[in-house]
Symmetry: C2
Subunit: 344 residues, 2 copies
Amino acid sequence: MDATRLPTLEDVARAAGVSRATASRVINGVRNVDPKLHSVVWDAVNATGYVPNRLARSLVTRRSGTIVLVVSDSETHDDDPFLGRFFADPYFGRVVGGLMKVLRVAGIQLALQMVGTAEQRTRLVGDLRHGQADGAVVLSLPASDPLPGMLTDAGVPAVLIGRPGEPVPINYVDLANETGAGLAADHLVARGARTIGMISGPPAVPAGADRIAGFRRAMARHGHGYVPLVSGNFTRESGEAATRDLLGRHPDIDGLFVANDLMALGAVITLRAAGRRVPGDVAVVGFDDSSAALAADPPLTTVRQPLEDMAAEAARLLLARLDDATMRPSSVIYEPALIVRGSA
Amino acid sequence: MDATRLPTLEDVARAAGVSRATASRVINGVRNVDPKLHSVVWDAVNATGYVPNRLARSLVTRRSGTIVLVVSDSETHDDDPFLGRFFADPYFGRVVGGLMKVLRVAGIQLALQMVGTAEQRTRLVGDLRHGQADGAVVLSLPASDPLPGMLTDAGVPAVLIGRPGEPVPINYVDLANETGAGLAADHLVARGARTIGMISGPPAVPAGADRIAGFRRAMARHGHGYVPLVSGNFTRESGEAATRDLLGRHPDIDGLFVANDLMALGAVITLRAAGRRVPGDVAVVGFDDSSAALAADPPLTTVRQPLEDMAAEAARLLLARLDDATMRPSSVIYEPALIVRGSA
DNA sequence: AGGGGGTTGGAGAGCGCTTTCCGAAGTGTG
DNA sequence: CACACTTCGGAAAGCGCTCTCCAACCCCCT
């Protein structure tokens, strides 16, 4: 198969009758090269079928043309099922889509890395410093994860999607989660719901915590000092379980805020199975405005999170940082919007 | 930030008082090294905070520890929306999940590459031959895509998910799509449906074509020589449009096979909006058994495609091929199963 | 005590590329 | 026509690592 050695720059140079250096200059479009040589070299490239060895190039330039998408593995390492869940979650796909939209036109590759153990974190940072990847986009981590600090300390270009747990001078893109949760609270109260519960995500993740805090704060403003709360893990199944739980403890519930659409979908299914009509008996507001919201019956009233835009912005931020190493960390916070559909 | 140069193997060797070669041997666990030196070297590694430069290593070993997931860009390059759709589709997530499950334990990274133009194909193959990635998993391509042949010709380890358009000696994992479509046909007929239509995927993709062929064949066996057919592109929206179209042309339809769940979801929504009850007036069978099937109301009767398992098998096949370059191309075909739920 | 076989560790040659440093040409001016 | 100045292309030094030789050494047997 690979009978012959791959053509190298040396071969091109020989074929073109110039030095390796000149060939390199032409191929990389560096100035200081006689225009006449241009075509000579390019012809040699085509004649030999030369493709640059990006590894070798990266080794010296310390630029790989690759961005790594870091996914926290900490919650997934014990129960395999969650791994599948995470990737199958529209959240992941929307982020990848948004990222690719920007990276593709910039000619940059995306690598995927799951990071859970301390050793993996060290290795990730090492790889980044070595130029194995030019930068990292880090998907919403548990607040306790030391990765953001490590990235900052290493001086590695990185952007978080979802704010860091501890304040750290690092780029990030986030949604005003508290505001979004407040929107949901306002809507449920305005609709006249009296007993309003919440199904949250994991409180250990900032996005989870912020939605809880925002919802509680807004509810308190409306005179509801106490909000029945059950936590899930952002999967539909956990939404179902949480709903059953909540229903058992507060059978009179007539309003429900669920911290993401997948769980909200589970909630709607469970509510209806329990004989409750949505929104007649229980009004449900979801979060994300993912494809799951439209799939539900009735379609979910939900808080829109423009994840694709956020991911694209993260990519842009990272690209800008790559161009200008002196760039100061900045954060972009998106405003959520309430999308009213059938469920509340 | 990166005040100091990163420690290199040279530094470790000096700290340990051995040669670079010996340090390398210890770190890579090569035999022929005095056990006493083991700890000396490892201590030096820890003391210096050494992390191997994988780029440099790959340059010489021609092994990168990376697998590239190739996604066809040909259909997406014109209309941006589809890009997002594709990644947000559970299909993509399930594949990534299945792949990661195997690759993670093997300590192998996953890179993502969209390939559309001839130049991108050439570059992809070049990168692979250069050892930028050890192998490729290629997601279901249009039948006309020349990539499988190029991969084979280059002698690059690769596995397709979804059979190649032209017979090519290459590894692939696929579902018995025709059988699956037949299952759907049998079920619809057995249920007593008289006028049965189909919403297909793009016929240009083998999986799309096979489901059409399988459905037609089975229907013909049941005496239905002609099957009303409208094509979609596997998105929910296209499922809605196709359903409206079909309904307009065949208002008496009472059975519908839809080539994936996302479109089936759209079909159910559209049917109900048109006043048809599912399954009362129209029985609907989907395909994939993705999360969308459970989200639908009623939950979708669907043909199960064990995509995670298929992807995992693809990864395993690739890994085996990496270990044994002489391995002959093989194919693994999974058998579909009909999952009966509420919609038919 | 001398030599054969087996281990062990070091020197050094690359892997394919970029890029600095220089010498050689080419250009214009006094 | 000589001189300073610019432009261009080549030689060669690495980037950090692996791995092939090969020299040195140890152990044991005769």
